[in-house]
Symmetry: C2
Subunit: 405 residues, 2 copies
């Protein structure tokens, strides 16, 4: 017990220290003081190598800043709130391509002109996360109105009519669902309903719908989580149908664990840990070099994604969250062991002793393949979210066993 | 001289033998005898792992089959012509999404229903190559009419009005030109004007325009070929502007060499060899592990493409063509040495002694990263085109020095 307490304390200290230095990296290097918003294309030393503003990453950074400001005393600092508000105003002003239509750009110029759009819901999802969290820290209702209006729009796009997304309707396109869609919606419901009974009620049915849809991605008699399935819950033909993304399944795992906890459903919890956390972890872990593969084919064919065998930072940060949360919810020491296994790999390979923020992209052998610290898909989000959540969960565990310092 | 003759003869024998076995791989494994067209998603042993039909690769395979049928006695075989015609009929029937509109799909189901489209001209380009070459071997004018009508359409999309491509007009999108567009058009003009005086006349101005546009991608006072430039021929800001793709520049190099030869312009030829072949080769060659990088940043930043340091088959096959052609046109033995350097790397790393067709995707160290032999972007095209062109050029060289066997 004492040994366990020491291990938990040591990991808590480690992640807390890492969170401080990672946040210092973004605070120092990413703020666009002229236009608001954030530069996320940062090289290994924090130098801006491109000034494009990716809307996913703008929304995520606003969310991260507000969440830390709101829930960590040491991050409750004016400079953090100010940067978050400047990012939020940038999004309010520029994210939508043709207001009042809700469709958001994927990437903007530094001064906010749209460059590209995606025919998906994700820019809009991170817009919602930013706006809801901004409302929580500022209490300005205009932010919350934006969040709820956008949420209602994306629910209509997903459940009623996707026409506003601009996808061409082609006769051969399979009616398919990516795991990303219901899991992202579940995550948004989590975000919106916190301490908000009216929204909790409003989105209760949506939340159950999301969970049911996510569950259908468990295929092959429970032996695999497939990234894409048909609209009626069946396996799709070809590479699309056989695709697995272990990190994504594991991330869905901890979203689902939070749901199971709210419902107090321990059978569901066991199912989630088995199917969405342990199974993808064991299939996705590289027994030769360590680390989680990015993509796999359930029948063992070679995936066609060129990066399939690379080790990306975010599946590892999601696995750290999933294992420590699953351990906290169950007390199963095997889950703590797996947390340590992933966390050791992560700190040994992604952590950069020189400049705080993690590398994002390693080759199969674990060597840094891209030296960037931020880019079109890596911003101030997965690393600090992981560190902040792990710190809180470890703190809770230490309190429970009576040893927190 | 005798030593050089032996080297040329040895390489000619090697590429000829390789061409035979590579073509046997596609003949045996890729034909869809039910619907016409070709399966290109083939694993390392030739097994079909997905039955999607990528329009680029359908067009390219029809072209390759016809070109070999037309220009190589040993490939002038009924089974090759029949497969090409079946592929051509498949394209005629299914490539266009909503005929009479010319826009083609990017990928079709095995029975020809469209799944995805790209908002570019490339499916259409390979459709033209297929149709023109089919006309050359069959003399059926309906193929040539298709080719010329489609050519006129893409020229209008590129030079007059891109609206039919379906790209959203966004205020921040830079007016940019990818090197791919003028070089692909130049390649198409080459294809269409062969032994065709009326079309030679019709496309003469377009050909010069393409060459001028390609030349503008030489930037930084002649020190770099940049993949994307502004519409008025200037460097673009950010990663997009700094992007280099050595294999692409080298491929443009041999397209341009053919133009310089037609014009009899030896100054232009020297410029092309220096700027489009030698310069990208020297900047793109990995001095540590050998092979050409896929992407580079002209200022030495790390590219954001996850595959930037991978070694792909096609830059190497294009470099083999470029160096042997440049050697043939100039007699400069340094160029023959570089042909040998690239060809040795290629045969040592991409060639698979077990099953003929080359691997396509190696990691930086030269180890096979994807074991597939064909996929969404790798079909029956770059490898056999390289081998066939090298065989012909080597044959011509041997004839000139009087030693062909």
């Amino acid at each position: 017990m004492e040994k366990e307490r020491e291990a938990l304390q040591s990991w808590k200290d480690r992640v807390a220290k890492e969170l401080d230095s990672v946040m210092a990296f973004w605070m120092e290097n990413s703020h666009d003081k002229e236009n608001g918003g954030f530069f996320t294309c940062l090289d290994c030393n924090g130098k801006v190598y491109d000034d494009l503003k990716y809307v996913w990453l703008q929304g995520r950074q606003v969310w991260m800043y507000c969440r830390l400001y709101r829930t960590f005393e040491r991050f409750h600092r004016a400079e953090i709130l100010e940067a978050a508000k400047a990012g939020g105003e940038f999004l309010l002003r520029f994210a939508k391509i043709a207001p009042p239509a809700k469709k958001c750009a994927f990437v903007l110029t530094r001064d906010g002109r749209p460059i590209k759009m995606q025919r998906t819901i994700f820019s809009e999802c991170f817009y919602i996360m930013a706006m809801n969290e901004l409302w929580r820290v500022t209490k300005e209702t205009r932010y919350q109105n934006e969040a709820v209006e956008m949420m209602d729009q994306i629910v209509r796009w997903v459940r009623e009519d996707p026409a506003g997304l601009g996808r061409p309707q082609l006769s051969g396109t399979p009616a398919a669902e990516s795991l990303a869609v219901p899991m992202m919606l579940l995550n948004l419901v989590d975000q919106l309903v916190e301490d908000d009974e009216p929204l909790n009620k409003k989105y209760s049915e949506l939340q159950d719908w999301c969970v049911q849809r996510i569950m259908k991605h468990v295929q092959r008699d429970g032996k695999a989580v497939l990234e894409n399935i048909s609209d009626d819950g069946k396996e799709l033909p070809g590479c699309l149908g056989r695709q697995q993304n272990p990190g994504h399944a594991i991330e869905a795992g901890w979203f689902l664990l939070q749901y199971a906890r709210r419902k107090g459903d321990t059978n569901l919890r066991r199912h989630i840990i088995d199917k969405f956390i342990l199974m993808p972890f064991h299939s996705g872990w590289d027994s030769k070099f360590g680390g989680l593969f990015y993509f796999q084919d359930v029948d063992g064919f070679c995936p066609t994604q060129l990066e399939w065998n690379m080790k990306l930072w975010w599946p590892h940060s999601e696995a750290m969250i999933a294992f420590i949360m699953a351990y906290s919810d169950t007390g199963d020491s095997a889950l703590l062991q797996l947390f340590k296994q992933v966390a050791e790999y992560t700190f040994n390979h992604f952590h950069d002793p020189a400049t705080a923020e993690w590398y994002g992209y390693l080759n199969q052998e674990g060597k840094v393949a891209l030296s960037i610290k931020g880019g079109p898909f890596k911003g101030c989000f997965h690393v600090p979210r992981c560190l902040a959540m792990c710190e809180k969960i470890l703190e809770g565990l230490l309190k429970r066993i009576g040893g927190s310092k």
